[in-house]
Symmetry: C2
Subunit: 152 residues, 2 copies
Amino acid sequence: MNIEIIVPGKLSSHLQNVFDFYLKKLKRFANLSVTFTKLGGDVNRESKQVILRREKDEILNKVKNRRFILIDLHGKQMDSISFSKFVENEMLSGELLFVIGGPLGIDDELRKKASLKISLSKMTFTHEFTLVILLEQLFRAFKIINNEKYHY
Amino acid sequence: MNIEIIVPGKLSSHLQNVFDFYLKKLKRFANLSVTFTKLGGDVNRESKQVILRREKDEILNKVKNRRFILIDLHGKQMDSISFSKFVENEMLSGELLFVIGGPLGIDDELRKKASLKISLSKMTFTHEFTLVILLEQLFRAFKIINNEKYHY
């Protein structure tokens, strides 16, 4: 199964270890790649709207015409079991594409184009922290699908 | 303000950097300490119930008679703004004590003794990942309370 995650920006150093850890763990279950796109600009010099639009263009440029799942604070909440069932179903199509918004949030057009919006929590996290949470839940999903223990 | 977080086990190395990062960031806002308690045993050799009970005893031994907030999957969901308001209110008492369950979950007695149960997500995370999410949300809460930007 191919899983791709598209997210603007780059990873801060304090998240590198946990990012690498889950990427390595997930290799056993999926062909996973993370694509970082360009940030839209400097919020001190340009409007939020302009920045979000540019980030949206960068993201859609990578999405092309594929269907994608948007990680969105206001999306559908799932528990880990439901999320694993969702991933299991998607495995049939062989491809799963996630998009995470940038530091300032999500452009409306991106929200409209998403085939599904999933919320990881009612709480707001930085976009890069969201990336790590998504990796953890994907790993957990595959452990559940494969009926393996995951306590530690 | 004093904030203490009690959690069974110890931190895995892949989470050390992000843990250190938020602990350092939070120093500016609070006197925060994390107390790791002993794990209750080996799930391959003993029942889950026995292990949870031992972990509960270790935790309550540290809690003493203080009121505490339990981080619980089935607790009350808050968004980051509500959580920051909650933290702000608690600042009046000068002390905030959180308890996170162990790898196998939470003993019922602990659930009963908690003055409040907060859920960070409908999704299940490892107890140590939960610790890092809580630190991130505490940092965000203080940024909100102090009216500071937090995009990065």
